[in-house]
């Protein structure tokens, strides 16, 4: 297992470099100019622009820029934001915990409610209950998070006045509840559907028949034999969803004004702050890769048929 992990870690390096380079390339090599964006519409002196660019190393070839950037990044130096002059590491340190909190909240919601609904539906496939829940998940999937976000914001905050429309204190779990639910909805629906399918399929399996024939009590048949098998694909899916939840936060944070990584990256994008975007993106790529490694390891732990190959 140690060797497998080592090999996987080695394999992750080129993927990390490739993914971040693509983002880096798109940020810097394509048209668009952060210095000009910073100066806005005011008249500018080409000489000044050139000298600022030189200071920032933006005049070098793209590969050179990338290597320098990554070299610094490895040492923990994310660079400095052009507009605010703040170190990007500081910005990330401020915003990241907020997004992590939101993601954990949403993830818990996805796991508990998603799996719960899936089990409820899957245990009685093709009943009214099952069809009802399937329809509900279909509706959830077809609502992009901004639609659900505004709908809930309108109903809960403006119509019924039970919540504040936006989050004023990102440290407050209670305030984060609504954004977390909105962020969770899509993944939740997928998890519920996946759990449902997996359970309904395993319910018909031969080993379930064996378990009944062994005279086991129902809670043991369901709890040990059915769950153990049915939740394997769900767990792997949940692992992959961590990354999607974090990027989904870009939209949700915007709607509810949560000062997290999503808002930072969105603002950095509109100002063409390459270093900020690439820094945050690199972090997300890293989290995604780590999550997929953990999922693979978990998969092998949960399913003895999978070997570390």
């Amino acid at each position: 297992m140690g060797r497998y992990v080592a090999r996987r870690l080695l394999q992750m390096i080129p993927v990390f470099i490739g993914s971040t380079f693509i983002i880096f390339f798109m940020m810097y090599a394509l048209p668009g100019d952060p210095v000009r964006a910073m100066m806005g519409d005011q008249a500018y002196d080409p000489a000044v622009v050139a000298s600022i660019k030189k200071d920032l190393g933006l005049d070098q070839p793209i590969i050179q820029q990338y290597v320098t950037y990554m070299g610094n990044l490895v040492q923990g130096d994310f660079g400095t934001q052009i507009a605010s002059g703040r170190p990007i590491a500081d910005i990330i340190a401020d915003a990241f915990p907020v997004t992590i909190r939101l993601t954990i909240f949403a993830f818990t919601f996805v796991s508990l409610v998603g799996i719960g609904l899936g089990i409820v539906a899957g245990l009685k496939p093709d009943t009214l209950r099952d069809r009802g829940l399937l329809t509900l998940t279909l509706f959830l999937v077809s609502m992009p998070s901004f639609v659900l976000g505004f709908l809930l914001q309108y109903l809960l905050a403006f119509q019924w006045k039970v919540t504040d429309p936006t989050v004023t204190d990102s440290e407050n779990w209670g305030q984060l509840m609504l954004p977390a639910i909105v962020l969770a909805s899509l993944s939740l629906a997928y998890v519920a559907r996946l759990t449902r399918t997996s359970i309904a399929e395993n319910l018909r399996s031969d080993y379930m028949r064996t378990a009944v024939a062994k005279g086991l009590p129902r809670r043991r048949i369901i709890g040990v034999h059915l769950m153990r098998n049915s939740l394997i694909p769900v767990v792997t899916f949940l692992g992959i969803e961590v990354g999607n939840l974090m990027t989904g936060a870009i939209v949700t944070e915007g709607i509810f004004n949560v000062r997290g990584i999503g808002v930072e990256i969105y603002e950095a994008l509109s100002r063409r702050e390459g270093a900020t975007v690439v820094g945050i993106a690199s972090l997300m790529v890293l989290i995604y890769l780590a999550a997929s490694l953990i999922v693979d390891l978990l998969y092998a732990v949960l399913d003895p048929r999978i070997r570390y190959a």
Partner: protein, 352 residues
Amino acid sequence: MTTIDKASTVPGPRGPQDDGGPLLEVRDLHVEFSTRDGVAKAVNGVNYTVSAGETLAVLGESGSGKSVTAQAIMGILDMPPGRIPKGEIFFRGQDMLKMSNDERRKIRGQKIAMIFQDALSSLNPVLSVGYQLGEMFRVHQGLSKKEAKAKAIELMDRVKIPAASARVNDYPHQFSGGMRQRIMIAMALALEPDLIIADEPTTALDVTVQAQVMDLLAELQREYNMGLILITHDLGVVADVADKIAVMYAGRIVETAPVHELYKRPAHPYTKGLLESIPRLDQKGSELYAIKGLPPNLTRIPSGCAFNPRCPQAQDVCRTDIPALIPVTERDGGELPGRGSACHFWKETIHG
């Protein structure tokens, strides 16, 4: 996950534990399934008995209802879509169909156990074989995890799995097909049940392994004096092991006989056809006999004798009257114990 348990909470009348009567008696059992194309009548009035130490072989093509009958006895039918409109299944004199879920569950595994055809899919892929074997003792006898594991190793030794203590933590996919089937047998044997139902236990195995597994099963059955219902479509498997045979067709028993009598003198054209379609060395070169036609569609079973469209001896009466399973006698009327045939022309078939 629906079983055939009736929801009655009142226990049935308690018969004597051992009254010398049969261990299991199936009476006029009917099972049907609702499908998209109508009601499929899988079992249409099956009767049979099994005593302690006796082996009953149930023979038939797929779709003949032999496995459905077994599942009804075990209480593992999917209901719905399955339904038991009629019939009784007595185990030691008590009708299991009238028992509560819990009573039923206590019989499963402890008193009646089942061996399935495909051990790979019938064993839980993510639990070690030791866990799955030990589970029987933990659930039914309340043993600790450790004791259960010791028992599991003992069982694996019993069914002659080499290096049992080293392999007890292995998973089903790590065993060969024959070894897996031994584990299934061990699991069925764990609590020394009175009756074992083996549903095509060797069909998925290599021919050489088939014999080993059958021998093991027969040996253990003698040792524990268990009743055994052996479900198969393979006449070859049955000959050495079974005491009596019931041949099923379209959900009915069409012939019953002590095993060797059946081979010698079949009393039903279907049995005859089955026997004739076995390749024989002494008839090398001649064309192999095959029963013409296909098994009937269970939503539209032919009127009269269900076998009539495929029967070489069919007459008009076969298309209108359902033949009852009646005793078969010698030409002079002498009794043939245990023999019966559901054919209007059994006399012609056995004596002709």
